[in-house]
């Protein structure tokens, strides 16, 4: 039975293969990992690089390496190619940064980039150097880099606790974990301290004091342990990966999930890091959850920002950040944890005083009680690192609102007092209390929580002052009244609380209602937009209304390069720079620009537009003073919008492709009908010519001179017909290829009519040809050769489709700014049904009557249209067809033809 064999899980195998592929396409990252500055990471890295360059003859280039003026390190640089650095001026200080573009262009096999945790100078493409490295690896370049343990994201706060030094520059653990190789550069602590004393360790001036704290033997031992342990963990993970790849039984089960409750609290970041460590050691996924309740609506801007930061932290640590919306945060958290099969919930220790829990239920208690089988980990919120941010100043508008609320509270209390005084007097206390409570309700409904609390206090005081003996004093004679006060106050507070809650719920409902409505509106409009331009205009309008941004959309053009397809005024001004960001976004399919970690100095936020089949374009959002993009809700809504726009644009692209395919099919059909028509029409005269001439060549052929001549005549006529067919085909091809050049020159129409008639002389023989061309006609700008062709085609048609000997006339007159030329015959005419179709390609009103391919009139229409005129056919009074075309007279004022008194008429032979 094959079941007993321990086979690797196919899915897992596939994932490994993919990973391998990704790795092989990407460059390899080698990290020289140390526990403190001065252990010799850079030195070791350079040594290794020299080895690579010499032994394996690899193309090694130094991107950026800081020797800090140390001779032994510097000497290792000799003989290695150094990339020029990119000088950046920041606050008057000259900074040298890695020049990413030069590095990408140089494309060495191996690039050395020191200090992975470095934060780039403002104005660089990425905020952090590790992002630069990521892009280099993405381009298939191997990278050697250095890193200290305190810069690892998840260990960041542990290090801070150990050493008391907060490190701002961090690198996500994922970078460390996915590195191809980590080489530990270790040095006994005593030796490090020795080196420090000898001044061999580079210490920046400004950090000297912190460094004193840092380089204590205790600290260093702890850091060393941390570094070694972290490396061991990595090795462990590799071994597990090996086991998985080779079908070795696993002791841990997959699918574990750690859910961490994220909050706007400044301590939440620590919580998230702790959860990440827990998840890593359990090989579990991390999910960060924030539940939006009424409380969320009252969050200050700072809190919102911090919440967004904490959520981003979850994501940057490789977790999934989820925002839920519910009445009860605890219930929702547990419900979600269950839904996602989370096995552990990580919650922060409460920081509020215990008595508060009497008034409102404790989140922690609820979680613990409701979580049942799910483990709950409570982790201390306090840590040495960060201080609690001071209470944020309230925005001005809010202050104003509360001021008017306060005034209203006073006023309404006064009104209640007056009503109580005159309506009920000092005896009916119960009624007076009711009036006061009504006042509190009104205040809380109209002006919110704080004014209603103020109103509650004022009402109790006023009640005491005016209605409780001794009157006009706050003193109380009967102690029972204090109970009344207490109850009254409590009821008032509860009422304000409840009212406030209703208001909050209404606000929240309104907020989500608005979001839903705007989503509905945009999706409906995008779905209905018939063209891409209208679609982009609709998208622009909605984005502007909902987020208050100005919009530009870049879509790939026919050459595959991004083009600013839609741009509001004021956007894409700095086209090159903005386009550069857009192209980066297009290439990497990640948002960049304003408010992100990549190219944050850009003027706009650039988001990739994705469709079902892949990337579609780039959306650029330019902020304006009323831009609303701050909180997670809006970000999420924006993502949804971008998704909708992406698929809508994709839809129009697909529609366009479908239309093109249809057109191609139609063209194909047309070509086929052309081929069949042409092959027939060309073959007939060819057959006649071949037949006639072969008969003449045949020695047993006709001997009669008369018959021989007749055969020759036929062959000649058919050859001429063939010539006409080929001429029409060529003209048509030229017209369709747009190769028709119109050399317009003012000239008399008479000349061209004369030329056309002259050229048709043979075929017109035996017909009466009348011309009616007034001598005073102005010169009209046209191309004489082309208009001659039109006239010849019309005259040919007239000779072809009318009985031999029937008259033809050509006339011209000027009216309404156009010259109208007509060619009239006395043939069968063109039925109104065919009047339009005769001008269509390959259409023949009379099949196979020695006619052409059905192109003559189509060519006429093409030429006339190229002159800005129009051609049509009418039924002629008295029978026959009247083909007419117009040519615009523009410029007619120039030169006039010799005036003659009357039209000249003539008759031909």
């Amino acid at each position: 039975m094959s079941d007993t064999e321990r086979r690797p899980d196919p899915d897992e195998l596939l994932a490994r293969v993919r990973e391998q592929e990704q790795i092989s396409a990407r460059g390899k990252l080698t990290i020289f990992f140390g526990f403190a500055p001065g252990v010799g990471k850079t030195y070791t890295m350079l040594e290794a690089a020299r080895g690579e360059a010499e032994d394996q003859k690899r193309d090694v280039v130094v991107g950026i390496v800081e020797t800090h003026g140390r001779y032994d390190t510097g000497s290792l640089l000799i003989g290695l190619e150094l990339l020029p650095r990119r000088p950046v001026e920041h606050r008057g200080i000259q900074l040298d940064e890695l020049d990413l573009d030069v590095a990408l262009k140089r494309r060495p096999q191996l690039l050395l980039v020191d200090e992975l945790a470095h934060t780039n100078a403002p104005g660089s493409r990425h905020l952090k150097r590790w992002q630069d490295v990521d892009e280099l690896l993405g381009a298939g370049i191997d990278v050697f880099t250095t890193l200290n343990v305190q810069h690892l994201e998840t260990l960041n706060d542990v290090v801070a606790q150990i050493t008391g030094v907060i490190v701002r520059e961090t690198v996500p653990d994922a970078v460390f974990d996915t590195a191809s190789e980590v080489r530990v550069v270790d040095l006994p602590v005593d030796e490090l301290l020795e080196r420090l004393r000898e001044g061999k360790v580079y210490v920046p001036q400004q950090a000297a004091r912190a460094v004193d704290n840092f380089f204590r033997a205790g600290n260093l031992i702890a850091l060393r342990e941390l570094a070694l342990r972290r490396t061991a963990e990595r090795v462990d993970a590799q071994m597990r990966g090996y086991k998985a790849a080779h079908g070795i039984e696993e002791s841990w089960h997959t699918g574990e999930r750690v859910l961490v409750c994220v909050s706007p609290s400044p301590h939440s970041a620590r919580l998230v890091r702790a959860a990440r460590r827990m998840a890593t050691s359990l090989h579990a996924e991390l999910v960060g959850v924030y539940v939006e309740t009424q409380v969320s609506l009252r969050l200050s801007t700072e809190d919102r920002e911090r919440l967004a930061q904490n959520m981003r932290l979850v994501e940057s640590l490789g977790g999934e950040a989820v925002v839920l919306r519910a009445e009860d945060a605890a219930v929702e958290t547990v419900r979600y944890a269950r839904k996602r099969n989370a096995t552990k919930i990580v919650v922060g220790k409460p920081t509020h005083p215990r008595w508060l829990e009497v008034l409102r239920s404790s989140f922690l208690d609820d979680i613990v009680r409701k979580s049942l089988e799910i483990d709950v980990y409570v982790i201390s919120g306090q840590s040495g690192g960060e201080a609690v941010a001071p209470a944020p100043p309230r925005p001005e508008t809010r202050r104003a609102l509360e001021l008017t609320g306060g005034v209203a509270a006073v006023a309404i209390t006064a009104v209640c007092t007056v009503i109580g005084w005159y309506g009920f007097g000092q005896e009916q206390l119960a009624d007076v209390v009711m009036i006061y409570l009504l006042g509190v309700v009104v205040v809380s409904m109209r002006y919110g929580y704080v004014p209603s609390l103020l109103a509650a206090v004022l009402c109790v005081l006023a009640f005491d002052f005016f209605f409780i003996p001794p009157y006009y004093s706050f003193a109380v004679s009967d102690l029972r009244h204090t109970v009344t006060f207490a109850v009254m106050f409590l009821v008032a507070v509860i009422i304000s609380h409840l009212t406030k809650r209703i208001r909050d719920q209404a606000d929240s409902a309104r907020g989500s209602e608005q979001r839903t409505a705007s989503l509905y509106a945009i999706s409906r409009e995008l779905g209905l937009a018939p063209s891409r331009d209208l679609l982009l205009a609709a998208a622009d309008r909605h984005l502007r209304e909902v987020f208050g941004v100005r919009v530009a959309v870049l879509l790939p053009g026919s050459d595959g390069m991004l083009e600013g397809t839609f741009a509001e005024p004021g956007t894409l001004d700095d086209a090159d720079k903005d386009k550069g960001v857009a192209e980066w976004v297009w290439l990497h399919q990640r948002p960049a620009g304003l408010g992100t970690d990549t190219l944050p100095s850009a003027r706009a936020l650039f988001m990739p537009l994705k469709g079902a089949r892949g990337r579609v374009g780039v959306l650029a959002l330019y902020p304006s003073p009323e831009t609303r993009l701050g909180d997670a809700d809006e970000q999420q809504l924006l993502d949804t919008f971008a998704g909708l726009i992406g698929s809508a644009v994709e839809r129009t692209q697909l529609a366009e492709e479908a239309r093109r395919a249809h057109l191609r099919a139609e063209t194909e059909q047309l070509r086929n009908s052309l081929l069949s028509s042409v092959s027939h029409d060309l073959r007939t005269p060819l057959a006649v010519v071949t037949g006639a001439t072969s008969a003449l060549l045949d020695e047993h052929g006709p001997k009669d001179e008369h018959i021989r001549r007749e055969l020759l005549q036929t062959a000649h006529e058919e050859a001429l017909r063939l010539n006409r067919l080929v001429r029409n085909l060529l003209d048509m091809t030229r017209l369709e290829a747009g190769a028709l050049k119109v050399h317009e020159e003012p000239q008399p129409i008479e000349e061209v009519v004369g030329a056309a008639l002259g050229r048709m002389e043979d075929r017109l023989r035996g017909r009466e040809v009348e011309t009616r061309i007034p001598a005073e006609l102005p010169l009209v700008p046209f191309d004489s050769a082309l208009i001659e062709q039109v006239l010849i085609n019309l005259l040919e048609n007239a000779t072809k489709y009318t009985p031999a000997g029937s008259p033809i006339d050509v006339a011209a007159h000027a009216q309404d700014g156009v010259l109208e030329v007509e060619v009239n015959d006395r043939g069968p005419g063109v039925s109104p049904r065919d009047a339009e179709r005769v001008f269509e390609k390959f259409y023949r009103a009379h099949e196979g009557e020695g006619g052409g391919v059905g192109l003559g009139l189509t060519i006429c229409r093409g030429i006339v249209a190229a002159h800005g005129g129009r051609i049509w056919v009418e039924e002629r009074a008295g029978g026959g067809a009247s083909f007419r075309f117009t040519l615009p007279l523009e410029g007619q004022a120039s030169v006039r033809v010799l005036p003659a008194p009357e039209e000249r008429e003539s008759e031909a032979r």
Binding site: R734, Q747, G754, G758, T771, A785, V897, L898, A900, R904
Partner: protein
């Protein structure tokens, strides 16, 4: 075959076409030499000094116009260019560059003979003293000495420019005159682009001389190229 029969150089790269032209010419007793390329044509022209050249504009090695120019550097031999339809520009360039007339493919043997005859006659005429009285068909009589024009027996008054235009055409009777040639001959060099004047005067002339100016018998328009005084009517 007498020595006096004109020698025609046929320059054409298509053998079949060359054959047709040769047969057509020889059947009319012309002597024929052939060339398939421009280089060959120039060599032949130098060694045989033909009486006329029939030149295809679409040669493989050199532009027909360049051949015309090279020949004109030392020879006044009549040149008849052959071109395909739709090459109006190159036709005009060849004519302005010194060719005497043109034929558009496909053409009949009769057409070729007529054109060649006119060209040869014109070349011969330029060496003789001009005739005093010229007749165009039966209707028009021009007295170059008295400067009088009679149409169907009646004297027609022409303006000086009209008269000049008419004499320019008469001198080259039967051959095409490009707009540029006419403008230079009538108005003088420097007026080569004032095509509208030419058209207006041409129309006036046509109205004065022709029975039906919309179906002219003598003053024929060659669209896009110029005018021709049909002498064989």
């Amino acid at each position: 075959m007498t020595e006096s029969m004109p020698l025609v150089l046929v320059v054409e790269d298509e053998p079949q076409m060359r054959k047709f032209v040769r047969i057509a010419l020889e059947s009319h007793d012309y002597r024929v030499i052939e060339a398939g390329t421009a280089v060959e044509a120039i060599q032949q022209a130098v060694s045989y000094t033909p009486d006329a050249v029939v030149l295809d504009l679409g040669l493989p090695d050199m532009d027909g116009m360049d051949v015309t120019r090279r020949l004109r550097e030392w020879s006044t031999v009549p040149i008849l260019v052959i071109s395909a339809r739709g090459q109006e520009d190159s036709k005009v360039k060849a004519l302005d560059g010194g060719a005497d007339d043109y034929l558009t493919k496909p053409f009949g043997a009769g057409e070729l003979m007529a054109r060649l005859r006119v060209a040869l006659r014109h070349a011969a005429a330029s060496r003789e003293a001009p005739t005093a009285v010229i007749r165009i068909g039966d209707e028009v009589v021009i007295d170059l000495v008295k400067r009088l024009v009679h149409v169907r027996g009646e004297e027609v008054h022409l303006t000086p420019i009209e008269y000049k235009l008419l004499t320019a055409l008469v001198k080259n009777a039967g051959m095409v005159m490009t707009h540029r040639h006419l403008l230079e001959q009538v108005w003088g060099p420097g007026h080569a682009h004032q095509m509208q004047y030419l058209r207006v005067y041409m129309t006036q002339l046509r109205h004065k001389l022709e029975d039906n100016p919309a179906r002219p018998k003598f003053l024929v328009t060659e669209p896009g190229i110029g005018y021709r005084l049909k002498a064989d009517v």
